[in-house]
């Protein structure tokens, strides 16, 4: 399916005008209209339509907690922090870009230098009460460390759930089992990233 029909902003060209008769003025014409509407059987057409649907039993209900609709890989729900596949270290290098770009101002991080003089993230929280799930943090992340996950059921006893770093970070045992899948969603490198890559312009 091409995207052309969605890009077309001139929507009115597909409109068709239904001819509507002017309402009758003379009493006799009004009477005729009443007779026509009464005996034309439009009411029974309505009855037939709903009855047909009942007999066909073509049910469109999704019984939500038991069944769920599939969601797009680009769905932007609760964030995830990823680990490096080989070493298991956190991918986050503490650059703070996500904190800077966050337009809802809901990301807070705290960093320090560890014994090897590498930056280490000590605290990382996202206030999901303020987050608008715009996806800028995932897009801006240079290390693909923060992505949006598919988990959209944000119900819990406490607000503090979901927002802490430990909850978002992939657990180590989970990683060892090889269950951390590279996320093809928002903020990911595009499939043709290798072709599009350019040399950094160092002219200045």
């Amino acid at each position: 399916m091409s995207l052309e029909q969605f890009k077309d902003r001139n929507v009115s060209q597909n409109y068709t005008y239904i001819p509507v008769d002017k309402p009758p003025v003379k009493p006799l014409d009004k009477f005729k209209q009443v007779l026509k509407r009464t005996f034309k059987g439009e009411l029974f057409v309505g009855l037939w339509v709903v009855f047909r649907e009942m007999v066909k039993f073509d049910i469109h209900t999704v019984q939500y907690p038991k069944e769920k609709l599939p969601i797009s890989p680009r769905y932007r729900a609760v964030h995830k922090l990823y680990r490096l596949l080989e070493s298991g270290y956190e991918r986050c290098i503490g650059c703070g870009l996500c904190e800077k770009i966050c337009i809802a101002n809901c990301i807070r991080m705290d960093t320090r230098y560890d014994e090897n003089q590498r930056k280490e993230v000590t605290e990382y929280t996202i206030n999901l009460g303020r987050c608008i799930f715009c996806g800028y943090c995932a897009e801006v992340c240079p290390e693909l460390a923060i992505v949006h996950g598919p988990r959209y059921e944000n119900a819990s006893e406490q607000r503090a759930h979901f927002v802490l770093k430990d909850d978002m970070l992939t657990p180590l045992d989970f990683l060892k089992e090889g269950k951390q899948q590279e996320y093809p969603g928002f903020g990911d490198v595009s499939p043709n990233a290798d072709e599009r890559i350019k040399k950094t312009p160092l002219a200045y």
């Binding site: 009443v34 009411l43 309505g46 009855l47 339509v49 709903v50 009855f51 649907e53 009942m54 039993f57 073509d58 049910i59 469109h60 209900t61 019984q63």
Partner: protein, 331 residues
Amino acid sequence: MTLTEFVIATIIKILVVLGLFSALAGFGTYLERKVLAFMQRRLGPMHVGPYGLLQVLADGIKLFTKEDIVPQNSVKPIFMIAPVIGAATAFIALAAVPLFPEFEIFGITIHPIIADINVGVLFVLGVMASGLFAPLLAGMASANKWGLLGAARTAIQLLSYEVVTGLSILAPLMLVGSLSLIDINNYQSGGFTDWIVWTQPVAFVLFLIAGFAETNRTPFDLLEHEAEIVSGYATEYSGMRWGMFFIGEYANMITIAFLASLIFLGGFNDWGFIPGGLAIVLKVSFLFFFFLWTRAAWPHVRPDQLMWLCWKVLMPVAVINVVVTGIVLMM
């Protein structure tokens, strides 16, 4: 039958009718939700019990345990009494309806009618009409604009559609020559072709339309038209008081279905190989289904269209029907 036996039998009948019809009214809500859902390609209640059957029970528990809110500026006694009128009149009207043919149990012949008065039709219609005092009082007492609008609509709806109901059943009553529902039923005992609906089709249609208006079902559901006046007369009600309106409405629907099948559709006479008791249950079920069916299919009308329909179409048609019936009877 001695007096004591009569009193005991009557009390048992009253209890049976009360219990059965409140249960049926509750079950009616389940049926309505299911049928409407199927017609709109949905499933309806599914989670409580198998196929959502226990939803009625869950709703009942919810209604009973909800807080009973009485608004501060309302006229409290009348506000509290109004739903009781709604539920009570619905069941009182059932007192004069012969529900089934006579049957024998333990050697006693039982007439399944609580009070066999010889003006049964008028009694049922009169009590059902006075049942419309419930929304009227509720709306006027709740000190709420939407409630008041609902009450005003109740008043016009009752005053207009009383006329149509009365005139529409006048013609079949002229044929039968009696106001007793049992006599009307016996008049049609000759089988399928004897049904009054074949001789009085216009009266049947008029009676059904007026019945929809009297029970405020959908094409004429103006008293609590959600899209226009929030919830009409029931805006300020909560919990069991609101539930009583609901029970009253569904009991009224069943009563109208019984009346229509008794007067026009051959009542509880045997229908071919189907015994009378089953026949009337089938007819009432179909009419009840028809109530739900129209709710899925047809839109609301405006109040002015309602008045137009009543005074400019239905009433003249009803009068003409009565006159024509009279002329035919004289000849």
